[in-house]
């Protein structure tokens, strides 16, 4: 990722009272972050529309409203760093460098899709960029991330792993076991809880004994920080600190991004558990608009540049959908390919 080459200019600008990300990363990196946020948003809107038109099978979980978390966390990562993702994983995938055309192709079940049509939305991945995959099992990716971090340690590399999961996942045994193992072994992994207030219909208050998921970091003797998950800079700041800590061999961290999903849980949600007011209040705090305003306000981008970026994204989405449509379906006689390696 380009942004991975970002220079830490923050040190040289002490006294700078711009938001962290703006002083820490090069303008090109910041522009790219905005581009990724748009791309995620428009990708998901495009996927939703394609779903309505019957081009996409099954269900999908949209992260609209949560883009700052995906992009902010991935800002300090290199292509050699890895992530594990969730059922709500489109944003993570794009933030970790995937191409939307191959994502659309996957959603359309095509051979050119990242998973050759075998995985779909819930298993979207771009392994070449270090994304070990979305996961249909809540909490399923967390121990896998710890295993990837163990590989890094045993292979004496300096990379890190980020494990994304939701607030609902923090009540799974897998969360507990994985965080404990990572802490005992001091592995380079960053646990990122995207707390959007609900696991499906169940609010964190009704599911989780503590007010903040980050409060549980104490049970694993690791730092636990809470950030405004709709503020890209705040997310990036927490990520930079945790990534540095991990690269320095000081062990894992837990970051909780407080955020919100604008859409229902999935395609089957009657939305009976959230009020209109709550949803609207969060839409007003849309992470994309906030970051865009910051970039313009601090002179990193002009309005025109923002407009051009948006247009580029539109084109990328339209081209991606065309690519996906034009791509071939897998042959049914190949259905058993990839079950085993050979």
């Amino acid at each position: 990722m380009a942004k991975a080459q970002a220079q830490a200019v923050a040190d040289s600008v002490r006294g700078d009272n711009r938001p962290f990300a703006l002083s820490h990363f090069e303008p090109a990196v910041l522009e790219d972050a905005l581009r990724q946020m748009y791309l995620i948003r428009r990708f998901e809107e495009g996927a939703e529309e394609s779903y309505m038109r019957g081009l996409v099978h099954g269900t999908m979980h949209l992260s609209i409203g949560q883009e700052a978390s995906a992009v902010g966390i991935c800002l300090p990562l290199t292509d050699a760093d890895m992530i594990t993702s969730t059922h709500r994983g489109h944003g993570h995938c794009i933030a970790k460098g995937a191409e939307v055309k191959r994502m659309f192709a996957e959603f359309f079940g095509k051979t050119t899709g990242y998973c050759k049509g075998r995985g779909g939305s819930m298993h979207i991945a771009d392994v070449s960029k270090g994304n070990l995959g979305a996961n249909g099992i809540v909490g399923g990716g967390i121990p896998i991330a710890v295993g990837a971090a163990l590989s890094i340690r045993m292979q004496k590399r300096n990379d890190v792993v980020v494990s994304f999961f939701g607030d609902g996942a923090n009540n799974e045994g897998a969360f507990h076991e994985a965080l404990n193992i990572a802490a005992v072994w001091k592995l380079p992994v960053i646990f990122v809880c995207e707390n959007n207030g609900y696991g499906m219909s169940t609010s964190t208050a009704r599911s989780t004994a503590v007010p903040n998921v980050a409060d549980r970091a104490a049970a694993y003797a690791m730092p636990g920080v809470i950030v405004d998950g709709n503020d890209l800079s705040a997310v990036a700041e927490a990520s930079v600190a945790a990534v540095e800590r991990a690269r320095a061999g000081e062990g894992p961290s837990l970051i909780e991004c407080k955020t919100y999903r604008h859409r229902g849980h999935s395609k089957s949600d009657r939305n009976r558990y959230r009020t209109k007011e709550e949803i609207e209040a969060w839409i007003a705090r849309d992470p994309i608009g906030r970051f865009e305003s910051q970039l313009v306000e601090y002179g990193i981008m002009t309005r025109d540049a923002v407009e051009a970026l948006r247009e580029n994204v539109e084109r990328e989405i339209a081209d991606g959908i065309e690519f996906a449509k034009a791509s071939p379906m897998p042959l049914t006689q190949d259905v058993a390919m990839y079950v085993y390696t050979d």
Partner: protein
């Protein structure tokens, strides 16, 4: 008793409501079964009728939730625990298999474990490999459990009511594609016994033993076969454990041919037991040809809809297999 048309999901919901009205020990637990109504709207609005104490949303904690249900069952309650998808049973096998199934035995009969667990199962919804499995065979391998797989709304209600009344742990596998299927369902309380298969169609030339959604596919195939002059008997197995040997044996003795159709992975799936049970029974001597199985392909369930269809038996597959078996080409 009046009979109405209800969907399979409605029939299950009605069974739960009847049991909860009749017995205050009965309650429901599961993820998003309250205000959300369950991932497949099976619990629907029951929370409004019975309140959140008896229609209890759990945290996303399958192992803990199953264990809580087991603990409640052992101490006087009658919990019905819903897994959101049967695939998540993989997180709770410990409590189901080591605790629920064995507790009565390990404690020398001092307790019973009257828990019911419900598992939405099967493929066909585009949910891919981790949300589409048919794992009932695993449970059928576990002494101490009872395992049922109703194929119709009528049986779903009656077998669930039988399960709730049962003193032992009963696992009920509900095929997701059946939830919207409608059929006649009597009002009020009735039970359909656990452990009894049902002959859905009489026939003389071969027996098709099928489970869950495959019963309907087998019946459809039987119509096609009938048009070709092949007279198939269709047996709905209904219970995986304890299996109704008598009904299957009697059918095979009559028809001399056996085809097993099931959606779970073929190897070590339910049809393996049906086949082996017949091959070691007195019906063996009546067999006029090999015992054929049509089961799920030896792959995870793929996402692409065409591939997804290709990995489970479809009506034409059943027709072809039956035709070959009867004609002696197998």
């Amino acid at each position: 008793m009046t009979t109405r048309e209800l969907s399979y999901a409605q029939a299950i919901q009605e069974a739960m409501a009847i049991a909860m009205e009749a017995d205050e020990r009965v309650f429901l637990m599961g993820e998003d079964i309250g205000v959300y109504g369950g991932a497949f709207q099976v619990t629907g609005d029951l929370v409004e009728r019975f309140g959140p104490e008896r229609v209890r949303d759990t945290p996303i904690s399958e192992l803990g939730g199953a264990g809580v249900a087991v603990g409640a069952a052992v101490t006087g309650m009658r919990p019905i625990f819903e897994f959101q998808f049967s695939d998540f049973a993989t997180l709770a096998m410990e409590q189901i298999v080591n605790q629920a199934a064995k507790m009565r035995y390990m404690l020398g009969g001092e307790v019973s474990v009257p828990v019911v667990m419900r598992f939405p199962a099967g493929s066909g919804t585009g949910a891919a490999a981790q949300h589409s499995q048919s794992l009932e065979a695993w449970f059928g391998h576990v002494p101490g459990l009872k395992v049922i797989q109703p194929a119709t709304p009528h049986d779903a209600k009656g077998m669930l009511l039988a399960a709730i009344a049962d003193p032992d742990p009963v696992m009920i596998f509900e095929h997701k594609l059946l939830y919207k299927m409608k059929g006649p369902v009597p009002e009020g309380h009735y039970t359909v016994p656990i452990g009894k298969a049902e002959v859905r169609r009489q026939g003389s030339q071969l027996t098709i033993v099928a489970t869950a959604i495959m019963v309907h596919k087998a019946l459809e195939a039987a119509e096609t076969l009938a048009a070709e002059g092949i007279d198939a008997e269709v047996v709905d197995l209904r219970t995986i454990r304890p299996m109704d040997k008598d009904t299957v044996i009697a059918s095979v003795k009559k028809t001399s041919r056996l085809l097993c159709v099931y959606e779970g992975v073929k190897t070590l799936g339910v049809g393996a037991e049906v086949s082996a049970m017949i091959a070691e029974s007195e019906a063996f001597d009546y067999l006029d040809g090999p015992i054929v199985r049509l089961g799920g392909a030896e792959t995870p369930i793929p996402y692409n809809p065409e591939l997804e269809k290709a990995v489970v038996p479809q009506v034409p597959d059943i027709v072809t297999a039956a035709r070959e078996l009867v004609s002696g080409r197998r």
